[in-house]
């Protein structure tokens, strides 16, 4: 406990330097902006801004990128409440009750409870990350190569199981991602694999072109083919203050949402949208005001909004302690760390205390900033919604293009982005989920390394994966998760939960 206080004090020392404060604010600001705007999400934005972070220190870079991610959770609710349009996937649920509250003239109250609830959830989740980080790290340090391999296997399975749509297709996408990760020079023998003799591919396919193509470019084309459905803002924000009755009704849902979000956020592939929906379902079941659901119940805003923000914070736990990304955004964070020369993993807490504790403290500060950015400045964000998409998408394209180019000062990466843009569009037309693929792509090379090491140690005996207790447990959990999805009952529940 005392150690925790010392560590947090150290973290605040890092997070409160002028530079880190500025970039946390910038990240929170950008995050809110892209959260408010439908059609551009955190994955595309973070891959867009990765090249900009090269010149920063690793801590500053991660602080800013993290700010974008949780900032987007705040911003997404604004659009959901005022326009009945989810600014982010995770705020789909907020449209259900939030927009109804706005129609009842309580838009201000809905915005306040979502911001305050998110802040509370963010605070709780940040403490959870700080407390669990060192403990989990200790556990992870006793992992051998076989255990690591099984852990990654479990991560991949769960990310596929929790992805939208068919589980078997998602597993296919994971494997496809692992296959893509094979491209490049084999680390142990130096042999070129699947590079087609192209010198630019000898370092492997960069994940920025992949992420930007599949999430940025493909998304633009998909948005363009749908006719613009952005309705004109007619609702007034009204008073931001909650009535006493509303406050009383909102407290318990915020608490429950925080717990649900914190738990589900840790799961690979779980993340913000699943926990928001989970919280909504729970509130609808337990509320004393069941009859109000569907016509603007404050519980239906308070719970999910707290849940999605808590999940956004706790999804950092697997990354910071095990080095394993739990969703597409975290996969990008791995990339950002590797570019900075830091190998994510259990040694990070000790080797990079500035980064670990600085990030945690900055997450809390960032949440505080977001409260200020979102509530008093709501008018500005509403204005942002008046920018038409036809002006936004060419700007996104240009930033993508320059960003990808400046990675290696090479136009080859731009062509690669074009190719993945096309592939991303194809995948979306075939209902193949890009997120599991990105996670497989990031984890693939690490899995190969651990697999080879484990097999070398066991003299080629694959039984090592079930003989080591940790590895066996992890694989068993994976098998159960997979088996559970074969039960039609559970599968339908999941589909219901994810389709919102």
């Amino acid at each position: 406990m005392e150690l925790l206080v010392t560590n947090l004090a150290h973290g605040f020392g890092v997070a409160l330097t002028l530079e880190n404060l500025m970039f946390a604010l910038l990240g929170a600001f950008i995050g809110t902006a892209i959260g408010v705007l439908p059609g551009i999400g955190p994955v595309a934005t973070i891959s867009l801004l990765l090249p900009i972070t090269f010149g920063m220190s690793a801590t500053t870079a991660i602080i800013m990128l993290a700010g974008i991610y949780y900032g987007a959770q705040y911003g997404g609710s604004t659009t959901a409440i005022l326009l009945n349009l989810p600014g982010e996937v995770s705020s789909v649920v907020t449209t259900l009750e939030g927009y109804k509250m706005a129609r009842n003239g309580r838009a201000g109250a809905a915005l306040t409870i979502s911001a305050v609830g998110s802040f509370f959830a963010g605070t709780f989740a940040t403490i959870l990350v700080a407390a669990s980080g060192p403990v989990l790290t200790q556990v992870a340090l006793s992992f051998g190569p076989a255990d690591y391999f099984s852990l990654m296997m479990l991560g991949l399975i769960i990310s596929a199981v929790l992805a939208q749509g068919s589980v078997i297709k998602s597993i296919g996408m994971v494997v496809l991602g692992v296959a893509l990760g094979l491209v490049g020079t084999d680390v142990q023998t130096g042999q070129q694999r699947f590079t087609f003799g192209v010198p630019e591919m000898s370092d492997g396919i960069g994940f920025v072109p992949v992420a930007m193509g599949m999430f940025g470019i493909a998304e633009i084309i998909l948005n363009l083919e749908r006719p613009e459905s952005r309705s004109v803002l007619t609702t007034k924000v009204g008073s931001l203050f909650l009535t006493r009755a509303e406050t009383k009704r909102a407290i318990a849902p915020v608490l429950r949402g925080t717990l649900i979000g914190s738990a589900l956020g840790i799961l690979p592939g779980g993340g913000a949208s699943l926990s928001a929906f989970g919280s909504y379902m729970l509130e609808r079941k337990v509320s004393r005001f069941k009859h109000e659901f569907g016509s603007g119940a404050i519980e239906g805003v308070a719970g999910p909004e707290a849940a999605n923000n808590a999940a956004a914070q706790t999804s950092f736990i697997p990354l910071l302690t095990l080095g394993i990304p739990s969703n597409a955004v975290m996969a990008l964070m791995v990339g950002a760390l590797i570019i900075q020369g830091i190998q994510p993993g259990p040694r990070m807490v000790e080797a990079q205390p500035d980064l670990f504790w600085g990030l945690i403290c900055s997450m809390w500060i960032g949440n505080l900033m977001l409260l200020v950015i979102n509530l008093p400045m709501i008018g500005m964000w509403v204005k942002l919604l008046e920018v038409p998409y036809r002006h936004m998408y060419p700007s996104i394209l240009i930033f993508c293009a320059i960003g990808v180019y400046s990675l290696n000062n090479n136009v080859f990466d731009v062509y690669l982005t074009v190719a993945f843009g096309l592939f991303g569009y194809l995948c979306s037309k075939l209902r193949m989920e890009p997120a599991p693929m990105l996670i497989g792509f990031v984890l693939g090379p690490m899995m190969e390394e651990h697999l080879r090491r484990a097999m070398l140690l066991s003299r080629g005996d694959p039984a090592v994966f079930i003989e080591r207790p940790i590895s066996a447990t992890l694989l068993a959990i994976g098998a159960i998760a997979l088996g559970a999805m074969l039960l039609p009952n559970l599968r339908h529940k999941k589909e219901e939960a994810l389709s919102g």
Binding site: P51, K169, R193, I221, Y389, R390, K429, L430, D461
Partner: protein
């Protein structure tokens, strides 16, 4: 038989990529399970992928009907073309010209654009990119054409 065309196509895609991968993998030494060569992991991955592709394909033959979606060829071609234009022009034509050309091509993808609006957008983006990428980040790229 109710064919789910999306799943069938997904399955075929997985199988084809896996087959191509296995074919290319013939060049790499496999090694043994104990000392894996560069070809061992690809072999495992592509065989698993082929198996999954076959399952997806097999299920897709029965869990339909779900026809293929229409593709927005116009938007798709124009957006991807605009990025190619950027890549083609950047090194010889410089940053400003490639921004202008990219935005002009991309703007064709949305029919509500007006020529004056596009011009304004181009000027705005050139100014913004100059500030962000040249002045602040100083990426190594020429800004004016070097054709001559």
């Amino acid at each position: 038989m109710k064919i789910n065309a999306k799943d069938v196509a997904s399955g075929l895609l997985l199988i084809l990529v896996a087959a191509a991968g296995l074919w290319l993998n013939q060049d790499h030494t496999l090694g043994s399970a104990r000392r894996m060569g560069p070809g061992y992991m690809p072999m495992l991955v592509f065989w698993i992928q082929m198996g999954l592709g076959a399952i997806v394909l097999g299920i897709g033959l029965f869990n339909g009907p779900d026809p293929l979606d229409r593709w927005a060829w116009r938007e798709l071609t124009l957006i991807l073309a605009s990025l190619c234009v950027f890549a083609l022009l950047l090194e010889r034509g410089g940053l400003f010209l490639s921004i202008a050309a990219t935005v002009a091509v991309a703007a064709l993808a949305d029919r509500t654009h007006r020529p004056l609006g596009v011009l304004g957008l181009i000027i705005f983006l050139i100014a913004l990119c100059w500030f962000v990428f040249i002045r602040e980040l100083d990426i190594r790229v020429s800004i004016w054409p070097t054709f001559f």
